[in-house]
Structures are given as structure tokens and as C-alpha cells.
């Protein structure tokens, strides 16, 4: 028998390998399932987002936000009715302004979407290790609202920092604290907020040691619901529960500092210098007075109040004044830059008095954003993107969910869809709203009905006596 040269054999092997790779590529391309992410997002918009929240304490909770751009189809996509996973990212909201967004968890959450009729069923599933959900996920249909993941035998706790791929129960966190006088470091270990530090400005570093989770207390079939990480909140220096309810009767505004017009007798105080944020004495309606105090005085801290605080807090360079005026039945409020360093927000008593507290606070948050944008306009030397005509577009595209978070951090019982509806109030002139209304007319209509319930001629929300 004639011997085949080794070089020929090698050449044949290479050809076979190349062919196999190409085939695998083609197979992957053909088999990669496509899914309807818009339909899933529409279904998500209709559910009660509040249910997806986890309460940490009286003023903090974790909001789990879908990462739509990271959605993927399950390996058993077809057999599980086109099952799609959307990773959920945890973010601590409420209570104090979130300065860092680096929650590290050993729980990986996913929104699981399964086709049902013309829509989708949505559930939350959890995985407690760094393993790939596409190969590990098995669905437990016995749960009504939570779809737990099974099949991860033996691992009752996963990695403390799953991204690192190894257990880590001690970590150091450094946070820049440039604009605030004081910051609070919160270490969250295994679901418990167990370390709180308060330090001055600069770049302080904190160390947390969560200890080893108790494996004995966590049986084979019991999932260890732990997470750990750092959250840093800046200015003020404490995380406190809901503020006392102020009225004009029991509210001891310290006043002054309004300049020689002597017309601003009630100080804003709170997080802001008295010469910086002022509530005019014209704000006499109890509900409006309550709302301005709650929004300005308490450490309701999130992205919007962080920006507001950064611009108006402490430096005393700009002044913002809230007044109450009767301005007819059209606009709830108007904000103007009446000076180079002076913003005035006029709250319309014809619209806001006898409205719900939720609507008043939503209006205040909306106007705070206008105030921020007007200053940004000045700071940018009137850059076109800060034109006042584009304010609402900017809000609609970037801040609606932040506004809803702000509302929920004050009104814990407020349904997230209601908070969203209130946040869209006043943004009906935007391209974003027009698109939403065109694509989802029923949802847009429902959202407007939800928002209407909070107005003065209805009875929804919390009413002032």
C-alpha cells in the first residue's frame, strides 16, 4: 500500500477544520432566534413596576431596571414559547441622592418574557451564581409572580462580586466627593445595610467586611438572597425617614436674606443656603407650602435633586425663588430666568390649589428641571441644545423615569405607573410623547387618564385638608 505523505494528511485536516468552522458559523447565524423587543417593552410598560422594587429600609429601595440592549433569547427559546431574558440592573433609589451606581450583587435578576396570545407574560427570575443562565435556567412554574431558577445544585450562595468570578466578602470603595460638603458611605452586606460612615469632602476610602455568609443556615434547597456593595450618598449627612409634615402654622421658616425688597420672608433652608433657594411668603396655600418644604428641605436625593443641589446649593452664586400667583387655568407653573443669576418659579394657585400633593410635587420637580436647564443654558453661553424650546424634549428623553423615582421617594404608596403618568404631565408637546401616542394610543390614553385623577377636579392621590 502506498503511504500517504504526512503533509497531505495535515492539509486534509486543516480543510476539514475550516469546513467545520464555516458550518458552525452558518448554523449559528441560521439558528439565532429573533425576538420582538418592542412588544416586550410595551408589555413591561403596562405592569406595576413598583412590584419589582425591594425595600431596604424606610427610605431606600432597590429599583431593578431592565437593560433592554442586553436582551437575549434563551437556549431553549422555542420550547419555552420564545423565552427571552432581559437582565435587570439594581439601583438604590430614594432616601438620599445616589452618587454611585455600583451595586454589586450575588443575585442576578432577569426579566423573563414569554409570548402569551398577542402579548407577553413577564416574570422575574433570579440566579445566585455567575453561571450562564442560557445553560442553567430551568423554570419553576409553581410560582405565580416570581420565577425562581433551579438547577444550580449545592450553591446556596454565589460570589460576592460575581463579576470577579470568586468570592469576596471584603472590599474597599473610594468615591470622589467634589461638590458636596459631606458624604455618607453605606455598605450593604447580604441585603442588610450594616455600615454607615459619614465623612468630609475629597476622595475618602472606606472598607467593608461582610464576613462569610452562613452556609449552615442555608440549606440545599434554600436560596441565599444576599447582595453586597457600596452606595455613596452625598449631602446631607444622614439618611432619614419621611420628613415631618410642614404646614404654614407649624413651620418655622427662618426667613430673611431676601434682599432689601424684604419680600422673601420665608427661607428655603434645608440643603440650600438661605440666599440661594427661597420660598416667597406668597406661597401661602398649605399644600404648596408643604410640597416646597418637602422637596427643598428634606434630603430627597436622586439625580434631579443632585443636579439642583449642585447648582443652587452652597455656592450662593445663583438664586432661585418659588412664588405663588394666580395665573389662570392653563399652566400649572412658569419658570423664568429674570436675571443673569436669578430664577423665579411661579406656582399657579388657580391650577394647583386643591390638587393632589402628588401633582404639586410633580410640578415642582418639573420646574426644578427647568431651573437647572436655564442655568445650564447660561453656563454654556446659550448653546443651542439648551434653548428653552427644547427643555421639554430634554426632559421627555432623559428625565421621566428620574422624575418618577423622585415622586416615589416621597410618596411610597404611589404606583409606579401613576408616578410615570405624573412625570409625563406637561410634556405632551414633545416628539417623544407624539411617538408614544402614535405607537401605543391606548397606553397613552390610559396614562393621561391616570394623571388626570390627581388634578383638582378629581379625587385621586393625597389631598390637603
Amino acid at each position: 500500500m502506498k503511504r500517504i505523505p504526512i503533509s497531505w494528511l495535515l492539509f486534509a485536516c486543516c480543510l476539514a477544520l475550516l469546513s467545520a468552522c464555516k458550518k458552525a458559523d452558518r448554523t449559528g447565524a441560521v439558528d439565532r432566534p429573533e425576538f420582538d423587543i418592542t412588544g416586550i417593552r410595551t408589555a413591561y410598560a403596562q405592569i406595576d413596576h413598583y412590584a419589582l422594587r425591594q425595600k431596604l429600609n424606610d427610605s431606600l429601595f432597590i429599583a431593578w431596571r431592565p437593560q433592554w440592549d442586553q436582551a437575549f433569547a434563551a437556549a431553549d427559546f422555542k420550547s419555552y414559547k420564545n423565552l427571552v431574558y432581559i437582565p435587570l440592573k439594581g439601583q438604590v433609589v430614594g432616601g438620599a441622592q445616589l452618587f454611585s451606581d455600583n451595586l454589586q450583587t450575588n443575585v442576578r435578576r432577569f426579566l423573563a418574557a414569554q409570548r402569551s396570545g398577542n402579548g407577553y407574560d413577564l416574570k422575574v427570575c433570579e440566579i445566585y451564581s455567575g453561571q450562564d443562565p442560557r445553560s442553567q435556567v430551568r423554570l419553576d412554574r409553581s410560582q405565580n409572580s416570581v420565577m425562581l431558577v433551579q438547577g444550580l445544585d449545592g450553591h446556596c450562595y454565589g460570589n460576592f462580586r460575581y463579576l470577579q468570578g470568586e468570592p469576596q466578602t471584603s472590599s474597599t470603595h473610594t468615591e470622589a466627593c467634589l461638590y458636596y460638603h459631606e458624604c455618607t458611605w453605606v455598605a450593604i452586606c447580604n441585603g442588610v445595610q450594616n455600615v454607615v460612615y459619614t465623612r468630609g469632602e475629597g476622595h475618602p476610602s472606606m472598607v467593608q467586611d461582610c464576613g462569610i455568609p452562613n452556609q449552615m443556615g442555608c440549606g440545599w434547597n434554600t436560596w441565599f438572597q444576599g447582595y453586597g456593595g457600596w452606595q455613596v450618598y452625598c449631602n446631607p449627612d444622614e439618611i432619614d425617614p419621611l420628613p415631618p409634615v410642614y404646614t404654614t402654622e407649624n413651620w418655622s421658616g427662618t426667613g430673611g436674606a431676601g434682599g432689601p425688597s424684604n419680600d422673601l420672608t420665608i427661607g428655603g433652608g434645608g440643603n440650600y443656603g438661605l440666599d440661594t433657594v427661597l420660598v416667597d411668603k406668597s406661597v401661602a396655600d398649605p399644600c404648596l407650602a408643604w410640597a416646597t418644604q418637602v422637596v427643598l428641605n428634606r434630603p430627597v436625593l436622586n439625580q434631579i435633586s443632585a443636579m439642583f443641589n449642585q447648582i443652587f446649593g452652597g455656592k450662593g452664586e445663583y438664586t432661585v425663588v418659588f412664588t405663588q400667583e394666580a395665573m389662570g387655568s392653563i399652566d400649572a407653573a412658569k419658570t423664568l430666568a429674570e436675571g443673569n443669576y436669578f430664577i423665579k418659579t411661579r406656582l399657579n394657585s388657580d391650577v394647583l390649589t386643591h390638587s393632589s400633593k402628588e401633582l404639586i410635587v410633580a410640578t415642582l420637580v418639573h420646574e426644578m428641571l427647568h431651573g437647572i436647564f436655564l442655568i445650564k443654558k447660561k453656563l454654556s453661553n446659550d448653546a443651542p441644545e439648551w434653548k428653552v424650546a427644547l427643555n421639554h424634549e430634554m426632559m421627555a428623553n432623559n428625565y421621566v423615569t428620574n422624575m418618577a423615582d423622585f415622586l416615589q421617594s416621597i410618596f411610597f404608596g404611589l404606583n409606579y405607573n401613576d408616578a410615570l403618568a405624573l412625570s409625563w404631565e406637561g410634556l405632551e408637546d414633545t416628539d417623544a410623547w407624539t411617538k408614544f401616542k402614535t405607537e401605543h394610543p391606548n397606553d397613552a390614553n390610559l396614562m393621561q387618564i391616570r394623571a388626570d385623577q390627581f388634578e383638582r377636579n378629581h379625587s385621586g392621590g393625597t389631598r390637603c385638608p
Binding site: S261, T335, L336, A337, E338, G339, Y341, R346, K378, V388
Partner: protein, 161 residues
Amino acid sequence: MRTLFLLLALITAIATAPAQNSSHKEAAAKALVKIFDKHCKYSGTLIMRKEPGLYALKVKLGAGNKVKEIIASDNAPADVIGEMTDPAIFSGYHWEQLLGRKTREGDLVIMPIVAISSDEPTSGFSPEKFEKQFIFQGRKSNFENCLLVQPYIIRYSGPVT
């Protein structure tokens, strides 16, 4: 030798006086702008009507750095001018530095103010507005010894609802 030192000191003082005077004036101008930044506002009503403003303040000084009276020109918006015509806002301000000498009875400083929309800075001006900018208490004064400072410009925005 002593006389020589005195002479040198005198020459140095004379040589550096204009420079000092100039830096004092610059500092005085900056301080004046800061006062305006804090207290000078335009009328919200006029902003909502999209009407720009051209008006002026006439500050009457007395001896000893005193502000005797501040008068706003006739077309100044009534709802905001109260704050600007209160002499208290200029308390501690060194008028001598601005004038370059001690204040005297009858010294006048005229400070023009222009309020324009930051979005549409050129709209809404009329010749009458320019003319009325310097009419105080109904009288057009063609000749008056005064110090005229650069106009202070308010770039207003809004309203946004």
C-alpha cells in the same frame, strides 16, 4: 541722603499712581458688576410679553462716599426697580475707586441696563426705547456732568411651563 530718599519715594509714587488708579478702577467695576449680578432683575411680566428693556439708574453721590439718591429712568419696570433704587445694596461700595478721587456733592453716575432675550436678542427694540433710556422723572437733560458706566446686560430666558 534723606532728601534723596524722599525724592525717590515721591518719584515712585507719581510713576505708579496711574497704574494703581487703573487697577482700582478695574476692581471697582468688577465689584459693581457683582452687585448688579445679585440684585438686578428684569420684570417677569415684560419677559412673558417678550418685551426687551432699555433703562438706566442715576446714582447721586455726596461727600464721604455717600449715596444720596438713586433714580430709575422713566421706562424702568416698576415691579423690579424698587430693589435697584435702594441705596442699601451699594453699602460698602467704594465710589472713590470708581471715580478715581474722593466723592463730592453733586457727583453723578449713570448706569444703563439692557434686558434682552437670550433666545432672540435682537427683537423688540424701537428708537423710542433708546431715547427714553435716559429720561429721568419726565425731564430730558441734554447736558449733565456724570460718569457713564458700561451697560449691564440681563440675558433673560423663558417663560417655560
